[in-house]
């Protein structure tokens, strides 16, 4: 965690006084009560922060398996894989390897998104137009990826399909990050009964293993792609609520927050302007990791017939429709499957780069 804001605002009188109080307050430093912690010195606060953070990670880790995916867990525990890469400064422009990776990954994502958005205008065929004379054609010069059982051009459909799968995933991740994050921030900031209530509710949602609940919700709602998105939002918001709550808890007693409070800022302003920028890193990383996951899960639900319905060229639905034809016309499956793979790969590369770039939990050892 950054200590910079704390040191830059040290001039305030009350804060300065604390240094003299150091020894007398040592006993109070371990108590979790907010007022006691506020009186403690910088060193103790920092200690307490570390302590809390460990406690938070530990508690998170112990309480529920699905809370953070085990993948995130190892990055929490181990402190970001390949963190030693950060220390290798590249030869050109003094840019770190991490930063170069991040830029390359971002460019990749932007290119991918441009293809998805504008590709529809460039493709040679209407993705919905059926042409039964040309059904089930193998890939050729006229149809680069072949045609499906209704003679629709697969290249056009796959590119058009990106709009559904990828954007559904992006909207979903944006929504759960905002919604879960907001709840978590309120919980962490306010504490009290509201915190307990929301955390108990999130416990229950986390008790349902992965897709099980999503399958049931999507199955019951029967509202196409939208219901798949709602179903996945149901199971994934608690992860963000937990994450943000823990981060807010670990920062809200830091000196810079006190300084902001003394300067007369209101609670919500402190939360948004002072705390949020300092805890954004892990949230961005978690969200980035989730984009790829969500693409797979949305496509998976559609594959089961619980998401996008015909004739939407959603990738999972396309594969589901072509499933029975796999023996003789494998390209009907291969085209959307590969598109899905590429999309997930691009976003996973981006997530890895994001983690190296933004995750502050770099090991000190």
């Amino acid at each position: 965690m950054s200590r910079k804001p704390a040191s830059s605002k040290r001039t305030t009188n009350r804060l300065a006084n604390r240094h003299t109080n150091r020894s007398s307050n040592r006993a109070a430093s371990r108590t979790s009560s907010r007022s006691a912690a506020r009186k403690s010195s910088y060193a103790q606060q920092y200690q307490e922060l570390n302590f809390r953070q460990q406690e938070y990670q530990h508690a998170e880790y112990k309480q529920s398996g699905s809370l953070l995916t085990t993948d995130d867990l190892s990055s929490l525990q181990v402190g970001g894989r390949d963190s030693e890469q950060d220390k290798q400064v590249g030869p050109v422009y003094g840019m770190t390897k991490t930063k170069r990776h991040f830029i390359v990954a971002s460019v990749l994502v932007i290119i991918f998104l441009l293809v998805v958005i504008f590709g529809g205008a460039l493709v040679p065929y209407n993705p919905y137009a059926q042409d039964l004379m040309n059904a089930r054609q193998a890939p050729s010069a006229a149809h680069l990826l072949g045609t499906d059982q209704f003679g629709r051009d697969l290249l056009s459909r796959v590119i058009e399909g990106g709009k559904f799968t990828v954007f559904a995933s992006l909207i979903l991740v944006a929504f759960i990050t905002l919604f879960g994050g907001l709840l978590g921030a309120i919980c962490g900031w306010r504490g009290g009964w509201l915190d307990t209530l929301i955390m108990r509710i999130s416990d229950v949602f986390l008790a349902f293993p992965g897709m099980v609940f999503a399958i049931a919700v999507a199955g019951v709602l029967t509202g196409g792609l939208m219901s798949a998105v709602i179903a996945l939002a149901c199971i994934s918001w608690p992860k963000y609520a937990r994450l943000v709550r823990g981060l807010v808890l670990s920062t809200k007693n830091m000196a810079y927050v006190d300084a902001a409070r003394m300067s007369g800022k209101k609670g919500i302003t402190i939360l948004m302007c002072d705390i949020m920028p300092n805890i954004a890193g892990p949230i961005i990383v978690t969200a980035a990791i989730d984009i790829g996951h969500m693409i797979i899960e949305i496509a998976g639900l559609s594959f089961l017939g619980l998401g996008a319905q015909v004739p939407t060229p959603e990738w999972g639905a396309m594969m589901s429709n072509g499933r029975s034809l796999i023996q003789l016309y494998p390209w009907i499956i291969l085209a959307p499957g590969t598109a899905c793979f590429i999309a997930v790969a691009v976003f996973n590369i981006f997530a890895d780069a994001c983690r190296d770039m933004f995750d502050p939990k770099i090991r000190e050892a």
Binding site: S75, I201, A207, P209, V220, F341, V344
Partner: protein, 314 residues
């Protein structure tokens, strides 16, 4: 230790109650009630009076909380209603499908361990060498491949092209489990290799390893006697925690390979709007998951002295 277990069991109670509430509430989201679904499934025209009478009989006119308690009473006595489609007792059919899912989960975990432990360890030991890069690329590909696409690819290659294995499970043919197992294991291993590598690297970077090296102890001995021993525990815990995603993830694979587990049962039930079956699936999977996690936690707590010391220190 006893206190710890007691505390965890107490914490479990509100979660279990929450699970039943959510499972019950889920069915209230459905459009139309039980009677509508029955009519839809039977395909007959039923008079308004008869519908009302059935509702009365099933207690659907009661206030919602009363319906919940009636339902909960049924659940506690092992009665979750009957399937609209088959007319069978839901609990019985769930119990008859469950062994298949457990068998599949078990074989996939074994295969995951067999694949990912050696690869993860090699990848960490040979860090930034060719072997490491190859393993990391493979794991990256495995991570980005959607499970159902992988399943279809395997199906195409091994069942359609090579004809080595049956494409769908027929009764009593043990080979039917191979492809679903491989599909699940590849997806899990891909994630798991990364975690093992990270755990190993973390352990290898510790001071005691440097200490051992400086005393001239051969690398192989350090690895087998100290590092592996220390990191195996973390690895096993991570594996235990991934059982949940495995239980949830089997549904797609089961329905592709026609493996008669609970996941396929649930997916079929959804297409038929057979709500009691879906309800049983959701609730029991959650309960199983919570219990598995609890056991894993307690075992971890019992085995690893570091965790106990840490808690004692607080």
């Amino acid at each position: 230790m006893g206190r710890y277990i007691g505390k965890r069991l107490l914490q479990l109670i509100p979660v279990l109650i929450g699970i039943t509430i959510l499972s019950f509430a889920l069915m209230q989201l459905a459009s139309g009630d039980v009677v509508d679904a029955m009519i839809e499934n039977s395909g007959m025209a039923v008079s308004e009076e008869a519908q009302e009478a059935t509702r009365e009989q099933l207690g659907l006119n009661l206030p919602i909380w009363q319906q919940y308690f009636n339902w909960l009473g049924g659940v506690l006595t092992g009665d979750m209603g009957t399937s609209y489609v088959s007319g069978l007792n839901v609990m019985d059919s769930f119990a008859s499908h469950l062994p298949y899912t457990i068998a599949l989960a078990f074989t996939s975990i074994v295969l995951t361990v067999v694949i990912s432990f050696p690869l993860g360890i090699i990848s960490a030991v040979k860090k930034n060498k060719a072997a490491d890069y190859v393993i990391r690329i493979l794991s990256f590909i495995g991570n980005a491949l959607p499970g159902f696409f992988l399943a279809l690819l395997l199906l195409y290659v091994f069942a359609v092209q090579l004809k080595w294995l049956p494409a769908i499970t027929s009764n009593g043919d043990w080979r039917g489990i191979i492809l679903p197992t491989v599909t699940l294991a590849i997806a899990m291993s891909a994630k798991y290799i990364r975690q093992i590598r990270a755990t190993m690297l973390d352990e290898l970077g510790r001071d005691y390893v440097n200490g051992l090296r400086s005393r001239g102890i051969p690398e192989r001995t350090i690895l087998t006697k100290s590092v592996l021993k220390a990191s195996l525990l973390t690895m096993s815990t991570l594996l235990a925690l991934s059982i949940g995603s495995l239980l949830g993830g089997t549904a797609i694979v089961e329905s592709i390979f026609m493996w008669p587990g609970v996941g396929k049962m649930a997916v079929d039930a959804i297409t038929m709007r057979d709500y009691p079956v879906i309800q049983a699936y959701v609730m029991w999977m959650a309960i199983i998951f919570v219990c598995v996690n609890l056991v894993a936690d307690i075992l971890y707590h019992k085995i690893d002295p570091r965790i106990r010391l840490e808690e004692g220190a607080k």
